[in-house]
């Protein structure tokens, strides 16, 4: 299994440009998540999905959009990029353990710079 994969690894955007960060998982997990991590900070949840066709906002959704047409893929769309979106973006997926809790597996991250 490849686990959770993300592309691209690095990207530089100009202010106002748009792009899509790709995320895929091959573990048949229902739940998928997008986080951003700024220097010295923990991870902040942007959007999550509990299954194909179902998405919901996390803590910091403004400026982003997601879709979940398949179990495997969960792309994150940035519209009108702004310098405040400079960050490292992590995609994660999880399943529910029998005793509760959701252990999340993370992709390698995408480092995005907006100038």
């Amino acid at each position: 299994n490849a686990g959770v994969t993300q592309t691209p690894k690095f990207r530089i955007l100009k202010i106002g440009q748009s792009m899509t960060l790709q995320c895929a998982q091959d573990m048949n997990h229902n739940y998928m998540y997008w986080y951003r991590q700024d220097p010295g900070m923990g991870l902040k949840l942007i959007y999550y999905s509990v299954g194909a066709g179902i998405t919901d906002k996390g803590e910091v959704p403004n400026g982003y959009n997601v879709s979940r047409s398949t179990t495997e893929d969960f792309p994150l769309r940035l519209e009108l990029a702004a310098p405040s979106q400079t960050s490292v973006y992590f995609c994660a997926s999880s399943y529910e353990r029998t005793r509760g809790g959701y252990e999340q597996y993370f992709g390698p991250g995408t480092r995005l710079t907006v100038t």
């Binding site: 739940y31 998540y33 986080y35 010295g40 900070m41 923990g42 991870l43 902040k44 949840l45 999550y48 509990v50 996390g58 992590f90 999880s94 353990r97 005793r99 509760g100 809790g101 959701y102 252990e103 999340q104 597996y105 993370f106 992709g107 390698p108 991250g109």
Partner: protein, 112 residues
């Protein structure tokens, strides 16, 4: 609002020392608490704790949860330079949310 506080924020120790990392939390509909290790890349899973008082162990690492006092600790004994990383604590809230709320992390540096 969910809140997670980790302490200390950073720590420098010598190889062979024992360290204790702290995590206090306030989340609604608490289900479990997870610890992750983050080196220069993605966080990797260490432990998930769901019950108070039951210690989880993996080699030199161990962790325990106190659901009454709302905190968890992560212990690392006989530290090695490979333990240098940021350690993240993340309580998981259920009730349809499935979310992890991450603390800022403790940056551990182990020097030879």
């Amino acid at each position: 609002e969910d809140k997670v506080v980790q302490s200390p924020l950073s720590l420098v120790v010598h190889e062979g020392d024992t360290v204790t990392l702290n995590c206090s939390y306030e989340v609604t509909n608490f289900r479990s608490l997870l610890w992750y290790k983050q080196e220069k890349k993605a966080p990797t899973f260490l432990f998930m704790l769901t019950s108070s008082g039951i210690e989880k162990k993996s080699g030199r690492l161990s962790s325990i949860l106190d659901k009454k006092e709302l905190f968890s600790i992560l212990n690392i004994t006989a530290t090695q330079t490979g333990d240098s990383a940021i350690y993240l604590c993340a309580p998981n809230s259920g009730a349809g949310s499935y979310q992890l709320t991450f603390g800022k992390g403790t940056k551990l540096s182990v020097i030879p």
